[in-house]
Amino acid sequence: MATLTEVQSSPTLSNDEILRYSRHLIMPEVGMEGQLKLKSAKVLCIGAGGLGSPLALYLAAAGVGTLGIVDFDVVDYTNLQRQIIHSTSDVGRPKLDSAAEKLKAINPFLNIRKFEARLASDNALELFRQFDIIADGTDNFPTRYLVNDACVLTGKPNVYGSIFRFEGQASVFATELGPCYRCLYPEPPPPGLVPSCAEGGVLGILPGLVGVIQATEAIKLILGKGDPLIGRLLLVDALGMKFRELKLRKNSDCPACGTHPTIKKLIDYQEFCGIRGEEAIAEATASDIQVEELKKRLDRGDDLFILDVREPHEYQICNLGGYLIPVGDLPMRVNELDSSREIVAHCRSGGRSAKAVNFLRQAGFKKIHNLAGGVLAWADRIDPSMPKY
């Protein structure tokens, strides 16, 4: 029997809340006890984007008492294909404001805490300590490793989800006895070997699938029910509609959570993950050509060879009439290029073509430029009728 003081310090449900959560309350796995656990729970969502949208919407609806969101981005038109917490009229608004409004509309009992900041080594630990569970839905390796290490250091479980094109991964990392992200991947891939969503694309419904799996795991951890994804990596293949599961083990040599950890504080994660990529881009900048200059030179009839290093399906969206060799095919197809001609390489926004320029320069090409800003800059500054994507 609970004493009177315990009862007073615990949360209770109002009659409105009891009605709202009635489909939970009549389930033995949740019940009043579980619903009160949800109300006391504090979950931090890293990002209010593709994964964060369904995750936050369902956690809010389910009655999680406190939802923190870290984001500093504004809603972009290209987000709407998958980030269902934001509406067309929200384009240009901070994602935090747009998300908070939708969540409050779904559940006015929700306590929302907005953190408009870039999650970084100097704020992560203090922030994580204020929550029970961290839900990681970011799109880059430095933040993945930062979230993992901060979860291990603060002892908070990391409900993990990740997506690429039509494949997803989900797991629960950094619980007391289970493995962490570094047990699985001790170090990140070098930049350039793994394309980002902006380069590779993502099927719009996939973050829905994976984000809802994350929400499910967060709810199970709060309730202490079921069999969480601890020590298991769930692989989702939306194209084949196959779910596979791999065993994960806690690595006793893990630098973060092993028996003799070497990571005792947060490090510089950009440096840990990104040095080579930044060098590649810096090297290419020396030979950048601006869209205005390219237009002028084409108009006066200069002999320029336009090399488009995007994928064929991107070429169909819009193009500058260039010769198409996807950046991944360049090593095989480099003999199709004439090194005596002046070449201007371009992609969507300039990242892939910078890599292509570096590659071609190493292959002996001297007269080669990177079109700064790619076809996006061309659409913005030269030809407003060209579609952007």
Binding site: G137, I163, R165, E187, V194, C197, R244
Partner: protein, 98 residues
């Protein structure tokens, strides 16, 4: 013959196939068979020194080969080998490339 499952980011190096059938009595032999059929894949799986890259995990069925016999783990007909690279897609919190 064992089946090697190719994850989406690497399919561009194996003519877009989701899986490739290879011969080999160990995981290492099967992977070498795979990269000799598809040489462009090699630098994504192996370092210049010929070691498997640290961010590429290899599973035999549902078990990480690091906890079996690593690349010497025996492979039987009908086994499934999975390449599980790290992917980071999700919400853009930092500038994305491309």
């Amino acid at each position: 013959m064992a089946k090697i499952h190719i994850p989406t980011p690497l399919r561009q190096y194996v003519s877009k196939q989701p899986s490739v059938e290879v011969k080999g009595s160990t995981v290492g032999e099967a992977l070498h068979g795979l990269v000799s059929q598809h040489p462009d894949l090699r630098r994504h799986l192996y370092t210049e020194e010929g070691k498997l890259r640290a961010f590429v995990n290899i599973y035999l069925n549902d078990e990480d080969v690091r906890y079996l016999n690593k690349e010497a783990t025996a492979v039987e007909d009908g086994d499934n080998i999975s390449i599980v690279p790290s992917i980071a897609g999700g919400t853009s919190l930092a500038s994305a490339g491309g």
